[in-house]
């Protein structure tokens, strides 16, 4: 009985692990995609829609983290205020507009608006980065956002 259960569990895990792999193969960053999905408890049992929503959640988490960093930079680097203001605006857009839009669209089966949201997350990150004219203190975070956005977009496109 236990053996049967174990066999079924392994079979399920094998096919689910393949689901993540198969999905990530179709994205521009296989390794990032796999590590994001594998590290999330929901990843093992999600369909494509669910995987897309996990990626949107990663975008949300990364945006939150970046906003924290932006806020801490106001004190440390007061000369960057103007750029930080613009970045703050851009990242707040990701959190308050892009993410909710993407979640609603993906859940309700109109993925193209989800695609708009995740693409825009990358755009906002790139614009923020550009505010520092090559001397950004946020590069690793904005770069991450751009990469995650690209992976998320590829998965959302599979829903079209």
């Amino acid at each position: 009985m236990v053996v049967v259960m174990m066999i079924m569990m392994v079979m399920a895990m094998v096919s689910e692990a393949n689901m993540i792999e198969q999905t990530c193969k179709e994205t521009p960053d296989f390794n990032l995609c796999v590590s994001l999905l594998d590290s999330d408890p929901r990843g093992s049992s999600a369909d494509t829609s669910g995987l897309a929503l996990i990626l949107v959640d990663k975008i949300k988490g990364l945006a939150t983290k970046t906003l924290k960093e932006i806020n801490s930079l106001y004190k440390k680097r007061p000369e960057l205020k103007q750029a930080l203001d613009e970045c703050s605006r851009r990242y707040n857009t990701i959190l308050k507009a892009d993410v909710p839009e993407a979640i609603e669209a993906i859940s309700k089966g109109v993925p193209k608006f989800g695609e708009d949201g995740v693409i825009d997350a990358g755009v906002e990150a790139a614009v923020c980065e550009g505010e520092f004219k090559g001397k950004s203190p946020l590069t690793s975070l904005t770069k991450s956002m751009q990469k995650v956005s690209n992976v998320a977009r590829a998965i959302v496109r599979m829903l079209l």
Binding site: G109, V127, G130, G134, R157
Partner: protein, 662 residues
């Protein structure tokens, strides 16, 4: 990939790679780690046993992978699915990213002056927030009604309900209260797109898609609460909704946007609804007598492989001989039928002309090589234009086309300015009786009522010239122009056997825009242009010689230099345009702040663009005539009108009461 990790509890999984400070993504993971030692040993034993099993499965699976993925050095995959990305939403993170690290990039911010200029003077838009698809357009008791997908809460898509506005002339609108909101289980997650049908007794039924509380897409019936109210303020949803649910074989999220119904020869009403089966776009057909119960036909109206989901399907007759609109139920030997669909994959509206067979509700295209949805098939518009819908205007015997024009800027800017999206100026649609192979669209005549002062010009423009056209304010304009390439220039090119043929290679999108000079083009107008030309939007003809020595004409809008902003999409749009023997080259351009609508050859090729200049705004927006050809001289004869604003009225109770009395 094979490891005992697959069987261990969640907490032992790798850390979230994005949280490099070592924090865990799952704060509850710790609790799963505790297990009794005996069970742990058992788990490990079985785990080791099944590792071998797992490895074996993976090894055999390796050989059966059908997609070969090659990663280029920057990590882009090149499978077929990735290829579907090409030509979609043109926003490219990658390009933007490359610019962002450049020390010379100008750090850019939108300010309120730039943003508030973007609102249009005479295009339909709500006072604020997000709009998308046109819904249920109709004419009733003296009023044109327009409904639309609307988000009352934000400047991005979401929480969709039906907005409503009325007009006497399709140009001067009054906003009304929301027509329908998400107040039933069958549309709790969205009151989506739908269409109106007039019954024989003159009453109206509305069919629309609801996203249910479980996010299933269903079709619902609604009708005006009071047919004596010309403003049709209130709508009642049928108590027996939904009237249609996804049929077997159709997924619950692939079933939306019901059309206006037409009468069959058997006396029933027939509708079609777009969907997909795998990657094949299809249109389902249903017959009904009462709009409450339906029989699904076994046949599809049409299907085209590899086109993906068909949204906002539209189906209507056009006259082969008369330049007028036809009621949706008209059929007969002098009639062709149009099937149009919005391609979810590419955000492009495509249509095809064909023949409808009423006996089994099917349709076949005249030219299957440009069947609906194929990338080379015809489009209403070669720019930003989607989810379009026509209706028969029984008031003036026209078929009128509405199209949703989204933004091409960042969502941050939309949030900052507080709104997103426009509708195009309504267009009449007829079959091109001269070519028989395409539709012709033209802004409704009523738009001319906005014309204020006009200036007429006749000039000859030599190669490489830019001429400032002084018309005063240049953000709201209507331009009608006729161009001719001087005969000597044409003869020279056609007679020169060594002059390379370029028509086969040329495309608006890929040939570098209006700065690339050819023998016979580009020439046209540059709108929303700064006097320094640092920002400008050229709308132009490019005439190219083909391999057969015949000339081919292209009509393009180049938005690549329309704005200094780094977060807007700036493509070159356009297409070839048929020019018949003896015809001069004609174009019409409607400029209205952040939208430019261009009509080539009387509306054979239409292109809508969204532009967001940062300097060429208010008094600094100018108009230029240009000829960037290498040798050819052109003559231009044109009229430029200043356009008044439409002063679209926000909703107010007094206004509505006043209107009700008229």
């Amino acid at each position: 990939m094979a490891s005992s990790d697959a069987l261990l509890p969640i907490s032992a999984r790798e850390e979230d790679p994005l949280l490099s400070d070592g924090s865990r993504s799952d704060p509850n993971a710790e609790t799963h780690g505790r297990r009794r030692p005996v069970k742990g040993l058992l788990a490990v034993t079985f785990g080791l046993f099944f590792i071998a099993f797992y490895v074996a499965l993976i090894a055999t699976h390796d050989g059966s992978r059908s997609n070969d993925v090659k990663f280029e050095s920057d990590g882009t995959a090149t499978t077929a699915s990735r290829a579907r990305l090409a030509g979609v939403s043109e926003k490219s993170n990658d390009q933007l990213w490359k610019l962002s690290g450049d020390r010379n990039t100008v750090a850019f911010s939108w300010n309120n002056s730039m943003l508030s200029w973007q609102r249009t003077g005479f295009h339909f838009q709500p006072g604020q927030n997000w709009m998308n698809d046109p819904n249920g357009p109709l004419f009733y008791k003296g009023w044109y009604h327009f409904f639309y997908q609307y988000n009352p809460n934000a400047a991005v898509w979401g929480d969709i309900v039906w907005g409503h506005a009325v007009s006497k002339d399709l140009i001067h609108w009054v906003h009304l209260p929301l027509a329908m909101v998400a107040d039933q289980w069958y549309d709790a997650n969205g009151v989506w797109t739908g269409s109106a049908t007039f019954l024989e007794d003159g009453s109206i039924v509305m069919l629309y898609t609801g996203s249910t509380d479980k996010s299933v897409q269903v079709q619902n019936l609604a009708y005006p609460e009071d047919l004596n109210d010309p403003l049709l303020l209130k709508w009642v949803k049928f108590s027996g909704n939904p009237v249609l649910v996804p049929p077997p074989g159709i997924l619950p999220k692939d079933f939306r946007d019901p059309t206006t119904a037409w009468k069959t020869s058997a006396g029933k009403w027939r509708i079609t609804i777009g969907s997909k089966i795998n990657r094949t776009g299809i249109s389902l057909v249903y017959d009904t007598t009462d709009f409450k119960t339906y029989e699904k036909l076994d046949t599809l109206l049409h299907k085209v492989p590899n086109t993906g989901m068909w949204e906002c399907v539209d189906f209507y007759p056009v006259s082969k001989t008369l330049v007028k609109g036809l009621d949706t139920s008209v059929n007969g030997p002098d009639v062709k039928h149009i099937v149009k669909a919005s391609m979810d994959d590419t955000r492009i509206d495509h249509y095809a002309i064909g023949t409808y067979f009423d006996s089994n509700g099917t349709w076949i295209p005249d030219d299957p090589t440009i069947d609906v949805g194929i990338s080379t098939s015809l489009r209403y518009d070669y720019g930003k234009f989607y989810a379009s819908k026509t209706f028969y205007d029984q008031n003036k015997g026209r078929r009128i086309l509405w199209g949703w024009i989204g933004e091409s800027d960042s969502e941050s800017a939309d949030v900052q300015k507080g709104w997103s999206s426009l509708q195009g100026i309504p267009r009449t649609v007829v079959l091109d009786t001269k070519t028989g192979k395409n539709l012709v669209q033209w802004p409704v005549d009523e738009v001319k009522s906005l014309r204020l002062s006009s200036k007429k010009f006749d000039m000859e423009v030599g190669p490489g010239s830019f001429v400032n056209i002084d018309v005063g304010s240049a953000a709201q304009l209507d331009i009608e122009a006729e161009f001719e390439i001087k005969k000597e220039s044409l003869d020279k090119i056609l007679g020169d056997a060594s002059a390379a043929a370029e028509a086969e290679e040329f495309s608006c999108q890929k040939s570098g825009g209006s700065t690339v000079r050819g023998a016979l083009g580009p020439f046209g107008f540059s709108v929303l242009a700064h006097e320094s030309l640092s920002e400008q939007t050229p709308v132009y003809f490019y005439v190219a010689k083909g391999k057969d020595s015949k000339l081919k004409t292209f009509f393009c809008t180049d938005s690549s230099r329309s704005s200094f902003a780094n977060d807007v999409v700036k493509p070159v749009y356009g297409s070839s345009v048929p020019v018949l023997e003896g015809e001069k080259l004609t174009m019409r351009i409607l400029v209205d702040h952040s939208i430019v609508e261009a009509f080539g050859q009387g509306g054979r090729t239409c292109t809508t663009s969204r532009v967001y200049p940062t300097k060429a705004i208010y008094g600094a927006a100018k108009l230029f005539l240009f000829n960037n050809a290498i040798d050819a001289t052109i003559t231009a004869s044109f009229n430029v009108w200043q356009m008044n604003s439409a002063f679209i009225h926000p909703y107010s109770e007094e206004a509505v009461r006043a209107l009700s009395r008229t």
